[in-house]
């Protein structure tokens, strides 16, 4: 049974790791067999499965980090994540369904800070070895017209 404080601490760790750019730690927040989607709201609501960022295993998340850090070419930028209040939607068995808004702002060199993502996150957490982990995270974003690229995970 995962309690509120554990979930709160989990997300504190999750967002801090991303804000700090410790991307190599990111996949470990998920279960080995997981589902991760960053998907446009128009797709999500139309029942389309096409995602802007997608992973169906921790391995794919590891590959995303590798691709991002070792193969992609992009202008340097900062992302900062502003999650809204955590809402507990449901519990089934040992899993917790959590929902939360997320605002991601980006800053490029000498440019003003802008909103890159306004989204709702639909997550499912399970407990592994006493630790909460994400079995599923669906980030549904309103901001369908992306300012060029979306590089770092949400």
């Amino acid at each position: 049974m995962i309690d509120r404080d554990a979930v709160r601490d989990f997300y504190d760790e999750y967002y801090t790791a991303l804000d700090d750019g410790r991307f190599e730690e990111w996949p470990a927040f998920f279960t080995e067999d997981c589902l991760y989607r960053v998907i446009a709201r128009e797709n999500y609501e139309a029942g389309y499965t096409l995602s802007t960022m997608y992973g169906e295993s921790r391995g794919m998340l590891i590959d995303r980090v590798m691709g991002m850090t070792r193969t992609q070419m992009f202008a340097p930028r900062y992302y900062r994540r502003f999650p809204g209040p955590l809402r507990f939607v449901a519990r089934d068995g040992d899993s917790v369904h959590v929902r939360q808004n997320l605002l991601v702002v980006q800053t490029l060199i000498d440019r003003k800070t802008e909103i890159v993502l306004s989204a709702a996150c639909h997550d499912v957490l399970v407990s592994e070895a006493g630790q909460p982990r994400l079995r599923e995270r669906i980030v549904v974003f309103d901001s369908e017209m992306i300012p060029n690229t979306f590089i770092y995970p949400a």
């Binding site: 960053v38 998907i39 446009a40 128009e42 797709n43 139309a46 389309y48 499965t49 096409l50 995602s51 802007t52 960022m53 997608y54 992973g55 169906e56 295993s57 921790r58 391995g59 794919m60 590891i62 590959d63 995303r64 590798m66 691709g67 991002m68 070792r70 193969t71 992609q72 070419m73 992009f74 202008a75 369908e144 017209m145 992306i146 300012p147 060029n148 690229t149 979306f150 590089i151």
Partner: protein, 408 residues
Amino acid sequence: MNSINHTWPADGMGRVPYWVYSDPDIYAAEMERIWYGPHWAYCGLEAEIPKVGDFKTTTIGERPVIVTRSGPDEISVVENRCAHRGFKFCQVRKGNAKDLLCPYHQWNYSLRGDLQGAAFRRGVRGQGGMPADFDPKDHGLRKLRVAAVNGVVWATFSDDTPDFREYLGERFWQHYTRVYDGRKLEVLGYNRQHIKGNWKLMQENIKDPYHASLLHVFFVTFGLFRADQKSATEVDQTGRHGILISRRGQQEVNDVTSTMRTFRGDIKLADPRILDAVKEYPDEDAIQIMTLFPSVVLQSNLNSLSTRHIVPTGPGSFDFHWTHWGYADDTPEMRQRRMRQANLFGPAGLVSADDGEAIEMCQQGFAHSTDESAVVMMGGRETESVEHMVTEVAIRGMYRYWRETMGL
């Protein structure tokens, strides 16, 4: 275009002057001569509007249009601008309707764009109303010529545009029908990017296979796209269309990789399913990416199929709309495969993100040196198709055609 006084650099075919990417007069002329001229522009997929009354909104050049299924076997494209006072009355992306109604004064049009009714046209209880000489026939929406070809909808503002097959030319018609072979298509979803670069840079990016084997470390590293693979770069007769064809190679180290600073021999995938592509066309090609001038890129890359629609929003920016699709009869596995491979493309694409960034970096680089010019002489100065990818031939072809069309 008397306001334009630029002269093309001496080395005509080997150079592209930077003023083509930023001059507002050039841009305005492009709208008239290219986007609203004798060219077919991408509007979408038939699969987006399957039922009579279905419609979608999109943009050609800078003009908003509505694409409607106006009959069981008829698609219409009309300007999204009320004939009364110019209202862009259709504001949703998609929908279904019996007719097109402008909310401002309830002028009402058929799905073909004919004015069917105008509220109070005959006045109210004898007062007001339209003058006697008001003929609804003169007040319909602007209609575009339409071609629905194997699942893709095209439209043009011009009467001089040749029919679609002729517009492509035989050779490109073959390429087009390889993928758009008449089977029913199915939409998988959309991606949208706003890119701060001139629209032609997107065309160049895709017409330039040479960058792909150098910039895209992910591609190169996993042997998806490499200069040492069997490939071809074709240009149509006019020079405006291009296609890049490539077979898939291996993740091997050889004489060529040694010349690639970005090759990462040590990288392995933790979950290789992202690259588990299967052959789905008769030929051996892994990649065919076609640029149909001026408005779209048609991608068949591994099993990832998409149309990428270019919508200019000024000399220095454009919107880029991706429609990812599959065949209606795809197996669940195949649908899943296309989805997975989509990780390589779009605004977060492990490959395509590079291109969006590259385009902005080009615009940033040359924007304030418009008297200088780009070098496009890789593979010579010719504009004929070649059997390899170490060339900028398709870019040269496009500017050969562009200069004719623009009279520059």
